[in-house]
């Protein structure tokens, strides 16, 4: 008991520091005249920030961008989940891949590959189409709002799918069957029963994607900025990265709106997901639902899914690989293939900055994920098993950072760390990463804890094992799957982290994604692609390695 009493406050202090500190510093900073010193309160930053003539357009862009992305990914997710759970569409394993793979391909690379394909001046696909159809100008321009919405929608598809697919899966099919017996057709049943029952999940998906796209930096920076289409994160980035002195005060003042909107949306999301448990219907028997026979539509629909997964997974990798061997971007041709060389790879592997960023990202990925998972284990333990009032506070605190737009929180931490000797070191990034992504570690861990029914622990205690032995022999082994998935999630997120890093990374603490952004700003597509491929290899290796390790552990648990 002693341990529980001291553990909870300690965790509240740590998590409180990680989540409240940047917010507090952001608020404070927004009222400051200068940067680095805290003297003289002023409203001038707010006045400058909110009287900016470009503000209205930027906010409108943000609105269209976030809502559009939410619509694209939710509709696609509904389609895919329905196909997977309800129809006899072939090759269902593809759906699982779609939901995992985008974790391996960093968002910024995905954006870059689309820029390489569909930019208006020399996009590979545009060039191809112009050649084939003899067009005068490019057919598509990815540097537009629709282009950004499409790419962001595809990037957020896995999140939407992960929310909608389980809801679709646990759906009691007899709700639909009884509708048919009552005389409703397939279509009527879909519109009047299936979709309304799924409404909480659909709304949750829309809200979560809005929050994610509001925090997204990769798409707006790679695809929005070349066309001068600014949304909140890039607007803030513009304020702190251009001019002689970065105006962190003004950035903070604008960031307050992004933060407030995100927090409101996240709590709405939370309300909806708890609401949806009300809708959960328990099926009395594991009766396998009759799959809808797609008949003649079977293969056309699968082709659609196939194209989607090709676009999501294979195309970006191919484009990057192809570009990494070329001196400049060009349409695949005999000439292009004859000009291929390893020059870009040599240059990247000789470039001290790229090597440094590679090293930093690896350290941050492995070290950060390990620390983050350890913290998550304790936090999840208190949230799920201790359940005192203080534990409730901890839960709300740890959930808060789920809503943090990375760039805003980066600015908040900037205000804090500039006061400390840590400023400019890799430690700043480590702390900020853990603060921003802590919920992603806590979530798999809490669900793992929930599955460990207290009677499992109690019977160990009754059998004569102490608290520590119980933890080591019973709890930890049962937690392994949660630990593994939490670690993978955090490590891959840290290796590719862009939004927080873009603010906090300083000479000496460069990371991979920021280095790639620099290459993209300088138009060094070849080197970018080479470094990007390295990044993909690292992410994928992490995922595969840890998954294998987790499998091995669960086999040991099973006793074989």
């Amino acid at each position: 008991m002693m341990k529980k009493i001291t553990l909870t406050p300690a965790l509240i202090i740590i998590v409180g520091f990680l989540t409240i500190c940047p917010v507090f510093m952001l608020v404070l900073g927004s009222f400051m005249e200068g940067f680095g010193s805290f003297e003289g309160l002023t409203l001038s930053k707010y006045i400058t920030a909110y009287t900016d003539p470009g503000l209205k357009e930027m906010l409108l862009n943000t609105l269209i961008f976030t809502l559009g992305s939410a619509a694209v990914s939710t509709i696609l997710a509904l389609f895919l989940a329905y196909m997977n759970t309800r129809t006899n569409i072939p090759f269902k394993f593809v759906f699982k891949i779609i939901s995992i793979i985008p974790m391996m391909i960093p968002h910024i690379l995905f954006c870059v590959s689309w820029a390489l394909l569909l930019n208006p001046s020399n996009g590979i696909l545009n060039r191809l189409l112009m050649d084939v159809f003899g067009l005068e100008s490019a057919l598509f321009n990815i540097y537009t709002l629709p282009g950004m919405i499409l790419v962001e929608g595809l990037l957020d598809l896995p999140i939407a799918y992960l929310i909608i697919a389980p809801a679709m899966n646990s759906f009691d099919v007899s709700l639909e069957e009884s509708s048919k017996v009552c005389g409703a057709s397939h279509w009527q049943t879909l519109m009047r029963i299936t979709l309304p029952v799924l409404r909480p999940a659909i709304l949750a998906s829309i809200i979560l994607v809005i929050v994610r796209s509001l925090a997204s930096f990769a798409v707006p920076s790679v695809l929005g900025m070349p066309g001068r289409i600014y949304v909140l994160p890039t607007h803030i980035y513009k304020i702190i990265s251009s001019g002689f002195a970065a105006d962190y005060g003004q950035a903070s003042a604008i960031g307050m709106s992004a933060l407030a909107a995100s927090i409101v949306l996240i709590y709405l999301y939370r309300y909806l997901t708890s609401e949806s448990s009300r809708f959960v219907t328990i099926s009395g028997r594991g009766f396998k639902p009759t799959l809808i026979d797609l008949k003649a539509y079977k293969y056309p629909l699968f082709t659609l899914v196939g194209i989607l997964s090709f676009i999501l997974i294979i195309l970006p990798v191919i484009v990057l690989l192809y570009t990494s061997f070329l001196p400049y971007s060009m349409v695949p041709s005999l000439k292009a293939f004859s000009m291929m060389s390893l020059k870009n790879w040599y240059e990247v592997l000789k470039d001290p900055l790229s090597l440094l960023s590679l090293k930093n990202s690896l350290i941050l990925g492995i070290g950060g994920a390990t620390l983050g998972v350890i913290l998550s284990i304790f936090v999840a333990y208190v949230i799920v098993k201790v359940r005192t009032k203080a534990a409730g506070i901890l839960e709300s605190l740890s959930f808060l950072s789920f809503s943090f737009p990375g760039i805003v929180i980066g600015v908040g931490f900037m205000w804090f760390f500039v006061q400390t000797p840590l400023y400019g070191t890799i430690w700043v990034l480590l702390i900020a990463y853990i603060a921003t992504y802590l919920p992603y570690g806590i979530r798999p861990m809490s669900s793992a804890f929930i599955q460990i029914h207290s009677s499992l622990e109690e019977s160990s205690r009754v059998s004569g094992a102490g608290a520590w032995t119980t933890m080591r022999r019973i709890v930890i082994p049962l937690l392994i799957p949660g630990i593994v998935s939490g670690w993978i999630l955090m490590a891959t997120m840290f290796v590719r982290e862009l939004t927080v890093s873009v603010v906090l990374s300083r000479p000496g603490s460069e990371v991979l994604a920021v280095q790639i952004l620099r290459f993209s700003e300088d138009g060094l597509w070849g080197q970018l692609s080479a470094l990007g491929i390295i990044m993909i290899i690292i992410s994928s290796t992490l995922v595969i390695l840890v998954t294998m390790l987790g499998n091995k552990f669960s086999r040991i648990q099973a006793g074989s």
């Binding site: 009691d172 709700l175 509708s179 017996v181 009552c182 057709s185 009300r278």
Partner: protein, 362 residues
């Protein structure tokens, strides 16, 4: 409305094994009867029900509801469930959580595009029928298990279907409510004069509710008949055991006169009904139900079906004693009136009337 099922066969594969869910089922369900499909889980009863409704299709055969062929493999006819005009109560009730009671019950009528006033009136009537008057605006999620079941029943009845089907509708209720609902449902269905098909694995439910019971096993109907016939004189050991508790004793038939026969077993000669007219010399089973075994106080040794044994494993369960009587090395399970004075380990005489013991093929 009469239902005919002809040569219905369905197989599917699970884990490499071919399972015959329905094995050439031929069945006629008479109009206005309460017909029960009874069997252990996996016997195919639910598959058969779902095939009748049209939620699942068999591989071969034909289903005729009234005069209409609703499904036929040979003639390539498939009438989808929404066009079959049936009512069904699902095991989970399948009450749509996003609608209130009115919308749930009125849904079948809305699909017929009836005028609003009529829908309103008929929903009110049907709710009254299931004793849920005035529940129209109650959200579906705010209903108790029993109320959900009534809403499901109202929804199945509101469109005045030709046939109503039940898929284990009582299995989600607790024991007490289940008993009450059983009785209510019986008199309710009798009053409606409707054809009802009821699927269950609960023998008491089947006995209490049905006009006709069909016992299923491994995709086949093994016996069909009135509840009393199936209980008192089933055709097979499987049905005897499934429809009630049964002591099955092996033996050889030594004597055969008219309806009765004597069978020689390990505990001695037993007389019982021989409705299947098994000849002398045949190996057979005799079935004695525990509830027909009585303590014999006044008989003398040598009487028909009188045996001496030792009371073992005796427990008192309130409404009766339950225990085993050991005769030689054979144990007979028995139920004894709770008012008897009896101890474990005591020697007792028991007897059972020949007309309640029946001889079946081994």
């Amino acid at each position: 409305m009469q239902i005919q099922i002809k040569g219905l066969t369905k197989t599917y594969q699970t884990e490499g094994k071919v399972v015959r869910a329905l094995n050439n089922i031929n069945l006629t369900i008479d109009a206005n009867t309460i017909f029960t499909l009874l069997g252990p889980s996996g016997c195919g009863k639910t598959t058969l029900l779902r095939a009748i409704v049209g939620l699942e299709n068999a591989d071969e055969g034909e289903i005729i509801i009234g005069d209409e062929i609703v499904w036929s493999s040979e003639k390539n006819i498939f009438i989808p469930p929404e066009k079959r005009g049936l009512g069904m109560v699902f095991q989970t009730y399948a009450i749509w959580p996003h609608m209130n009671v009115f919308d749930n019950v009125g849904y079948p009528l809305q699909n017929q595009n009836l005028p609003k006033e009529e829908i309103k009136q008929r929903v009110a009537e049907t709710l009254k029928l299931v004793q849920l008057e005035g529940f129209e605006n109650r959200p579906a999620t705010k209903l108790s298990g029993g109320q959900q079941q009534r809403v499901a029943l109202a929804r199945a009845l509101v469109a005045k279907p030709k046939v109503i089907l039940f898929d284990e509708p009582l299995s989600n209720l607790d024991a007490k409510l289940r008993e009450d609902t059983r009785k209510e449902l019986r008199s309710f269905l009798n009053g409606l004069g409707i054809t009802a098909i009821y699927v269950t694995h609960d023998r008491i439910e089947a006995l209490a509710l049905s006009d006709v019971i069909a016992v299923m096993r491994a995709g086949k109907i093994v016996e069909k008949g009135a509840p009393k016939k199936i209980y008192f004189n089933p055709d097979s050991a499987f049905v005897a055991d499934f429809i009630g508790r049964a002591n099955l004793i092996e033996g050889t038939i030594t004597e055969h006169d008219g309806e009765f026969a004597t069978i020689h077993t390990a505990i001695g000669d037993i007389r019982g009904l021989n409705s299947h007219h098994l000849p002398i010399g045949n190996n057979a089973l005799i079935c004695i139900r525990p509830e027909f075994i009585h303590l014999a106080h006044a008989q003398k040794e040598g009487d028909t079906n009188l045996f001496k044994g030792v009371m073992e494993n005796l427990v008192f369960i309130g409404e009766a004693y339950e225990g085993d009587i050991k005769i030689n090395d054979t144990l007979l399970t028995t139920t004894i009136e709770p008012t008897e004075d009896i101890q474990a380990g005591s020697e007792i005489f028991i007897s059972f009337a020949p007309q309640y013991c029946f001889i079946i093929e081994a």
